[in-house]
């Protein structure tokens, strides 16, 4: 199912906002059911680890629910740990909310092409050209930065420092080294772009023409919007 990056961007952002503002557990369940299965299918290339870590994170949310919302009748009593109805309800609401947010994001990641997204941001969504150029530079530099970061961490380990910069001081030291290399590259990318006439380049507006995949997503979004609004009104 081919979809325009504009549709995918709007879809993922809108579902995220709806999930954030919804309080009704039935609405959250509907949003999660509409997004998580499709997102999991489209985002299956992310691998098992991605989903495994998500479920590990949910365990932390369960502990937080027990810490902050443990009220009502006891549901589970295991020695010193008493899980009450309030904690279970809080956990389920947060789980459904996060699942719909993750599902919408996975739909985006599964269908969007980053190069097409950058083009759509500038030509269809009319985001300022310079802003999109910055984003393009940032995304192009990611691979180089990962390599640089790996080398810096290796050097830190060889010099007897902790491999991971876990304190504010070591984070500062790590970032200074990483940034000094990256800024030099950025400077020359900027100079080259200026010489190629970046500031003189005309924007090529591209009209938004939704295809079948876009219509499916927009109908799905309209459905979720209706459910959320109805739950707030009724």
């Amino acid at each position: 199912m081919k979809s325009d990056p504009t549709t995918l961007f709007i879809y993922a952002l809108s579902v995220t906002v709806l999930s954030m503002v919804s309080r009704d557990p039935r609405v959250l369940l509907a949003l999660a059911l509409l997004n998580l299965p499709l997102g999991t299918y489209l985002g299956r290339k992310r691998g098992v680890i991605f989903f495994l870590l998500y479920f590990l994170g949910l365990f932390g949310i369960f502990l937080n629910s027990v810490a902050f919302s443990n009220q009502g009748t006891a549901v589970l009593d295991v020695g010193p740990l008493v899980v009450r109805e309030g904690a279970v309800k809080a956990f389920l609401r947060v789980f459904l909310r996060l699942s719909s947010i993750l599902g919408a994001a996975l739909i985006f990641y599964g269908l969007a092409d980053i190069r097409e997204l950058l083009d759509a941001l500038e030509c269809t969504m009319r985001i300022p050209r310079g802003f999109v150029f910055s984003l393009a530079v940032g995304l192009r530099m990611l691979a180089l930065l990962q390599r640089d970061a790996g080398e810096i961490l290796e050097m830190r380990a060889q010099r007897g420092h902790s491999r991971r910069p876990l304190t504010p001081g070591s984070l500062s030291s790590f970032l200074r080294t990483l940034l000094s290399v990256a800024l030099e590259r950025g400077l020359w990318i900027g100079v080259a772009a200026e010489l190629r006439g970046l500031s003189l380049r005309e924007r090529r507006p591209r009209p938004y023409r939704p295809g079948l995949g876009d219509v499916v997503l927009l109908v799905l979004l309209a459905l979720q919007l209706t459910i959320t609004i109805l739950s707030m009104v009724c």
């Binding site: 995220t16 992310r46 870590l53 932390g60 947060v94 900027g190 100079v191």
Partner: protein
């Protein structure tokens, strides 16, 4: 030069490229910070985690502003880094972008109230600190079940202190550009 007489408004391609570099560096740091946040949260709880890690997510704005020193550079730096964090798949998905826009607007205020003439450590610390209450308010919207009225004030204080600390660190890091 920490004080400018007239703020320069026009962005050059080099400024945009530097914003891109900040976005990439901080986008990567933001992604790694999730693991750090969960580790500290497991050891010190939600308030300790916010004191020691939350400010990391507010660093892009003061870093970008200290490097570019033009109006809206703090906002652009934070939003671009959040966009990179959104595009590199993380569990937060598009919440990262929503947080980035809100935090970027709050951080930009620190430079706006000084008329875009001062880009020093005070402004950087203020820029980080102002993002704290905004982030915790968004947390309250996202996790109303997990943040009680009692903890909200403590979390705001923790995030603000963390933002100020990491804002200062961002300013220190920006000094690599002579």
């Amino acid at each position: 030069m920490l004080v400018q007489t007239v703020p320069e408004l026009r962005y050059s391609a080099v400024d945009y490229a530097i914003l891109g570099v900040v976005a990439a560096v901080m986008g990567v740091v933001f992604v790694v910070a999730w693991d750090f946040y969960y580790l500290v949260k497991a050891l010190l709880g939600p308030i300790g985690a916010r004191v020691f890690t939350y400010g990391i997510w507010f660093m892009a704005a003061p870093l970008a502003a200290s490097l570019v020193r033009k109006p809206l550079s703090a906002f652009s730096g934070e939003v671009l880094a959040a966009l990179v964090e959104t595009i590199i798949p993380t569990y937060g998905g598009y919440t990262n972008l929503i947080y980035g826009v809100a935090q970027g607007l709050a951080s930009e205020l620190a430079y706006l109230i000084f008329g875009y003439r001062r880009w020093g450590p005070l402004q950087a610390a203020l820029s980080g600190a102002l993002a704290g209450p905004v982030a915790v308010t968004l947390d309250q919207i996202l996790f109303p079940e997990l943040i009680t009225a009692k903890t909200f004030a403590a979390l705001v204080l923790a995030a603000t202190a963390s933002g100020a600390l990491y804002g200062l660190i961002a300013y220190g890091v920006s000094r690599v550009r002579k």
